[in-house]
Symmetry: D2
Subunit: 299 residues, 4 copies
């Protein structure tokens, strides 16, 4: 059975690592937070005192970190893993980061003779816990083949987006589009309500027409239209405004560096930053509905 | 068998009327264009010399006109139908117009003791010909019951959106959202392509993820990704930029009159007007993809 | 000395009429609010019981009403002035309304053989009281010559923008641009502050550089940079958000009807409507600065 | 007399260095382009074979480079100046770059015991040649005092914006605001023209009203309104679209890194990138007027 090193045991990384333990893999894990380590230890993983200890002499190394600078520092910093690591692990970075950072790290890994994949996920904490994440993977096909069985212990859908960095690009594009259509859906629903329509009736009509999209099907932002979505529990939980705003920031960086034109994406970024600055950063991202409601009215 | 009057035999109204003839109804039809009348006459409808002749003494009167002023003039003008009509027809206006105009006309009809529905359609010329249109209906439920069998000869889905004008509001909201997600999809695809992704691969990933929407499923705007869509025939046919721009104009009027906030919708209107002003008004609305392509690159 | 009829004695119309009384004109005035009439009566104007009484048998008729429907109703309604008025007054409408309404009314006036000017003002209540308003006039040059001396009793600058309706168009364009540069100024100042700059230093630099504009010179939106502006008294008084939002609504209607493209203007409209919906409709329009401040920070 | 090293002799740096030669300073200059060196040599400067040769043993070192990576590489690269330079020059970097880069370099300079200023300019090639540039300076006041006499040989206005990086921030804010009001002015003028106004008349009215701004005063974007501006010579020369787009990119990066909200700035960036992608990158930035003109109409 393969040995896996796993660094980064937060809201996402923790349950992902747990699923690998449950699947029978031998895990060495590291995180800066002792309580995160304790949970994995209780489940049967061996904990380590440093990132490099978790990374040495494993078959696969998985990292799940908050942002580009963390990944850059871990792999390419002064005492970075790629300078010191022993063994020939397949490296899978599941962090959502800038495509340029993903390419920089994989290029450095390649110089060391190591295969690397960028494999950002979607599906949220619930998907991480249930093992039903979607992995959007960049890198060489044979490296993906080498890691596929392990990814399948943590996720349901595994997409090969293209070469190194392509996983990040595809995730960024998807989430930018998601933000645009979430805001668009909120605008359309409020416009209907302000003109006398019932939001459930309007949602149902658009859901069966050319206005249909993922939020209308599964994640309606208007309170009371759907059960079991954040809109029906005061926008608690789910995918936070500040995380969406971070992903939109990556989309804007990719837009700038590739001289692309994304006016809708840029407006979505402005609106989510505005919404966060008004104190809603830790609500679910469907709470953008609140921005369009009139004062004193619901929602 | 019921007698039907039908006024407005253009690209949409013509095939709609034909389907009613085929279903066995006795039709009196009127249009300002002789060739349109000839086609219906050949199919078995009786043609009339004026709108009022088509409207008198029928069980159901259907109108399909280009815009609010036309509808206003036909029903409420100096010699408008509501001043002169004989009989007690159910009136069904299938034009896409301002909700306020729809309400004005139905209020006037009601004063004359006539039931009226606003019933704008979606589905395009192809849907009109195949009898598979979607009708989004505003007005009283019992009036809709009275007209349902006839609408079912022309369409597949019939939604009751609410009271008078609600059919127009729902259609406007749907099409505003459609425009937003079409543009968002075009931006996301081009951003991916500009960062090295294959548009088909990216479309497939987003289609199975939270970025999914109606254009990604059925109407991909990037050339070569889907067969049998306008993007794969130089954006010919389909739903024209200028028609989408007209519907967005109605959405903006509804936004202004209800003091709503629709920043994405407003940006969509600006971008479609810009696209039209650059000479693309009679291309399919998915041609907005061209706005985001780089000079010299494809598309 | 000429006789003047004056209808509409609100925040603007009241002091405008007072300045005409002070200049020695014989005024007949009407308003629906008794207290407004009382103030003019005390100053020496004769009050009337109806609009038509104020309009009959005067040399010049001035109207100052809140919006297009009011103007439309007063002049063109069932018992509208243009059906009943006696005498040959020059008509000057100082309301800020849709250019189309201005043209409709002046066309109807012309059919009755009456000369008419659209003459919307800028300068606010302070300018109305001080007699320093700016008049932006549409209509024929000789009609303007006929009314110029009277306008000069109420204002300092009198611009001839063009034919009927042109006064309204020019005012709408000016105020749209004002809104855009007020928001742009607020964004730029907050971006500087968020990156460590002193707002006064930055204002001074931009004021002397290519970023200069009217708000930077006379109406800085950042609290504490200028004395005697609304920003330095919690945005009280001045030109209200809801009035700017109304003018932006007229700009959007003109955009739609002329198939123009005004993406910045449309975004300005969205942002002012949003700002108003969050409870700031009766603050000065420079309060848009608040939209860009971070939670817990100033302003 | 002080010795000055000058690196970067392009469109801006060339004439700036010439003005220093004319003022009597002893210049050592370097550029990668031989023709640029030749021109300075002819004027009396001594040319060097490398950047480090120009930088060693001078009293003041001035650099004028195209973008952040160039500055980063020159000062902080593997053989960067700050590792090898001899002497104690005051360093003045006149490049327009990211504030973060400016701060990184000045921090490194400070560790070496060297004073440094970021001093981006505005005023264009004409201002560089005439010695009338505006310098917007970040850094310590005493360092600015040390360099002021030299800056005054090249420019007319010298602003102290604040600490290290503040010069860059202030320039970015100014140019973002300039872009917003240039676009806003173009929109307003075209809206007026589309509604029947003469662009000169409308420009004059707004110039004397609250719509006034720098473009209306000195740089009108509508062809034929002003002589001697790019709009009246097919938008040739001036401040290029691609340079404005670069500055807007810096503004967007500063927005992202400071979690600011700049919706107008973001829209301006999208519109300039779009305009460039349609083939207008090397026109003057007032050519954005073309984006709003209707097909077949002028401009």
């Amino acid at each position: 059975m393969k040995k896996i090193g796993f660094i980064g045991l937060g809201h996402m990384g923790g349950p992902m690592a747990l699923n690998l333990v449950k699947a029978g893999y031998a895990l060495k894990v590291f995180d800066l937070t002792p309580s995160a380590l304790k949970k994995l230890s209780a489940a049967g993983a061996s904990t380590t005192a440093s990132a490099i200890d978790a990374a040495n002499d494993v078959d696969v190394l998985i990292t799940m970190l908050p942002s580009s600078p963390h990944v850059n520092q871990l792999y390419l910093g002064e005492c970075g893993l790629l300078k010191t690591i022993s063994g020939q692990p397949l490296i899978i970075d599941c962090s959502t980061i800038a495509p340029d950072t993903a390419r920089d790290v994989s290029t450095a890994a390649s110089k060391r003779g190591l295969e690397m994949l960028d494999a950002p996920v979607s599906g949220g904490v619930a998907g991480a816990e249930a093992g039903t994440l979607t992995f959007i993977v960049g890198g060489e096909a044979k490296a993906l083949d080498r890691g596929r069985a392990i990814l399948e212990c943590m996720g349901k859908n595994i997409f090969h987006a293209g070469d190194h960095g392509a996983g990040q690009v595809a995730k960024i594009c998807n989430n930018m589009l998601l933000a645009i259509q979430m805001i668009g859906t909120a605008e359309a629903l409020q416009l209907g309500v302000n003109n006398g329509l019932d939001p459930s009736v309007l949602s149902n009509i658009m859901n069966k027409s050319s206005g249909n999209n993922w939020p209308l099907e599964l994640y309606n932002p208007y309170p009371g239209v759907m059960d079991n979505v954040p809109a029906s529990r005061d926008y608690e939980g789910g995918f936070l405004v500040d995380l969406m705003s971070k992903d939109l920031g990556l989309a804007m960086e990719a837009t700038l560096s590739s001289k692309s034109t994304t006016p809708m994406g840029a407006l979505a970024k402005s609106l989510y930053t505005l919404h966060s600055s008004q104190g809603h950063g830790d609500l679910d991202f469907s709470s953008i509905q609140k921005l369009f409601s009139k004062k004193g009215s619901k929602p």
